[in-house]
């Protein structure tokens, strides 16, 4: 039991971090970022390159991932999303753009890093063993703690910094924020960069444990969508709740349903359908997103 909970918490922390980036981008710009999974993979490969090929310490790789993805995200917002949003008649048109970017990043990753599964050596050795009730490698614990630290600092940043306040205002009401003197363009760009950076950071964290390969982008995006559907799109607390709930469900499901074959996700999806029929906006979302 303790083991299941610990696994769920560890998974949930990673998931919440991915969902946070997606929900931030969605709340600021009403864009469903299909490329989020690809950004995550990209971040993983940057860390891999820095750590495994250049032989630099892990923390440098993590910072490099964050920096590269933040710049990438900022550029994507400024030169792709902004003009399209301004000129298209229906705001759903950004979905084609987002999907195009997802394919494009896939192509770039394929050309730059190849299609092999990559990983970096363990950063800490040893296994934590509490009376055979919880068994967990130290590196997983470290990554879990790092992820939770990042989540907490993200919340603090959004809550207390000037930039964070501006972005929250923007998410609430774009027009009103603009009238209050918030530079909408600038903070949209910062928000997108921040969202992409979070995806890159998770990639950098997880490359030490699960490794990374090209095919992970799409499924990661689907999982991230699941999380923000559970929690409610565009709400920070919702993304965190969604991440932890999905992590727990996966961890519990894999243990309980193992006897019936690989149906954990089928059960999760079915539950979600029923849940959304009762509460369409998710746990904490605003009605109609």
């Amino acid at each position: 039991m303790e083991q299941i909970l610990a696994n769920g918490l560890y998974l949930g922390a990673q998931y919440a971090l991915i969902a946070l980036g997606l929900t931030l981008i969605f709340s600021l710009m009403n864009v469903l970022n299909f490329a989020h999974g690809q950004m995550y993979v990209f971040g993983g490969f940057v860390t891999y390159t820095v750590v495994a090929q250049f032989g630099l310490p892990f923390i440098v790789g993590l910072v490099a991932s964050a920096a590269v993805l933040a710049v990438l995200g900022g550029l994507i917002e400024k030169f792709l999303f902004r003009p399209v949003i301004r000129r298209s008649k229906r705001e759903e048109s950004t979905m084609l753009l987002a999907a195009g970017i997802a394919f494009f990043l896939d192509a770039v990753i394929l050309l730059l890093f190849g299609e092999k599964q990559r990983g970096v050596p363990k950063i800490v050795n040893g296994v934590f063993n509490w009376d055979m009730r919880i068994i967990m490698p130290y590196d997983r614990i470290l990554i879990g703690i790092l992820a939770i630290t990042l989540i907490v600092s993200f919340i603090l940043f959004m809550q207390y910094s000037r930039t964070g306040r501006a972005m929250r205002a923007l998410a609430q009401d774009r027009m009103a924020a603009q009238l209050m003197g918030v530079d909408v363009d600038r903070y949209s760009m910062i928000g997108f960069a921040l969202g992409a950076m979070l995806a890159g950071l998770v990639g950098g964290l997880l490359v030490t444990i699960t490794g990374i390969n090209l095919g992970m982008g799409g499924p990661t995006s689907v999982k991230a969508f699941l999380m923000i559907m559970i929690g409610g799109a565009g709400v920070i607390s919702g993304a965190i709740a969604g991440g932890f709930i999905l992590g727990m469900m996966e961890s519990v499901g894999l243990t309980l349903l193992a006897a019936y074959g690989d149906i954990t996700y089928l059960v999760i999806f079915a539950t979600l359908m029923v849940f959304l029929a009762i509460r369409p906006q998710g746990l904490m979302g605003k009605p109609w997103g």
């Binding site: 399209v84 759903e92 050309l111 689907v222 089928l266 979600l272 359908m273 959304l276 998710g282 997103g289």
Partner: protein
């Protein structure tokens, strides 16, 4: 009106006469398979377009294509039905399923609906893996080619297995299905139903307030959309003679949506053009080897930047440029 008739005539002539002649002359027989795929995918995309028309983003057409494919395959293999009977049955089965699923999820809007339908594709795949009747990951293979279709002894469609050139037959079949689908779609859009759908797209509350039964209408539109998905899937299975849980995955669902976007959401024939360009373009780009995806996605992004309202917006009357 005369112009429109000429347009339709030219289109039919092009599809049913010029393309086969062109292929016979150049000897690119492989184009038949590509073009058949384009025709069938555009049938599915027509369905997605209809859900766009009521203001919903549908990324779940792959699920219905998969269901339609399995319904047809199982009926042919296990119950010994003729393929031509299973084709409409696959569509009807999908329409029925979509009513059950649609009733709760069509209450959702915007990205919520989009995400649920995306998940639906995954659900369909996982269900196909888990159910015994679908034969799990091994799928259903060596399905016989469509047999003869005759009414009162009169052969309408000959037995595909006995044909000298089944590729051409499949192409004509797919193209006919496509033409029929778009005729139906065009008819729907230019009918009372179409006007009501447009009112949903613009403002659902307002439409409801003047007495439009929005709940019934959106389920109806969604089930028609799924019907198209189902027959497209069934036809695909007949061509490839096999179906696996991975025959239609999330990528396919996303592609269906992209075809609609690229052609333009405001134009009935948008999805057809979008499918042709994206699918055919992808096929032609295979000469670029490892740069295929890069060029493909790059041009998709570029197109979006130049024409954010879809390709057909090029022919719009010069509106006030913003």
């Amino acid at each position: 009106m005369a112009l429109r008739l000429i347009g339709i005539g030219a289109f039919l002539l092009g599809v049913f006469v010029l393309v086969p002649v062109f292929i016979a002359v150049t000897g690119r027989w492989d184009f038949y398979y590509t073009l058949t795929s384009v025709a069938l995918l555009s049938v599915g995309a027509a369905g997605v377009w209809l859900t766009f028309y009521i203001g919903r983003i549908n990324i779940g057409q792959g699920a219905y294509a998969l269901v339609g494919g399995y319904v047809s395959a199982i009926l042919v293999m296990k119950a010994g039905f003729s393929f031509w009977v299973t084709l409409p049955l696959a569509g009807v089965a999908c329409a029925l399923i979509s009513v059950v699923i649609g009733l709760p999820i069509l209450r959702l809007r915007g990205v919520y609906f989009a995400m649920v339908t995306l998940v639906l594709t995954e659900v369909a795949r996982l269900t196909a893996l888990a159910l015994p009747v679908t034969n799990g990951a091994k799928g259903i293979t060596s399905i016989p080619l469509p047999g003869e279709l005759s009414i009162l002894g009169l052969t309408i469609i000959p037995d595909f297995a006995g044909l000298a050139n089944p590729k051409l037959a499949f192409y004509l079949m797919g193209a006919a299905l496509m033409a029929l689908t778009y005729l139906v779609l065009w008819r729907i859009v230019n009918s009372r139903l179409g006007h009501l759908c447009r009112s949903l797209q613009q403002n659902e509350e307002l439409a409801a307030s003047i007495g439009v039964n929005t709940a019934m209408l959106r389920v109806l539109a969604y089930s028609i959309s799924s019907f198209f998905g189902g027959i497209a899937g069934a036809m695909f299975v007949a061509i490839s003679q096999s179906i696996y849980p991975s025959s239609f995955v999330v990528t396919d669902s996303v592609n269906f949506m992209l075809y609609c976007f690229l052609g333009g959401l405001g134009y009935v024939f948008g999805p057809m053009l979008g499918t042709l360009l994206l699918y055919f373009g992808w096929d032609l780009l295979s000469v670029a080897k490892q740069y295929q995806l890069l060029i493909y996605s790059g041009s998709m992004i570029a197109l979006m930047l130049v024409l954010p309202n879809g390709l057909l917006s090029l022919f719009d009357k010069k509106e006030s440029r913003q």
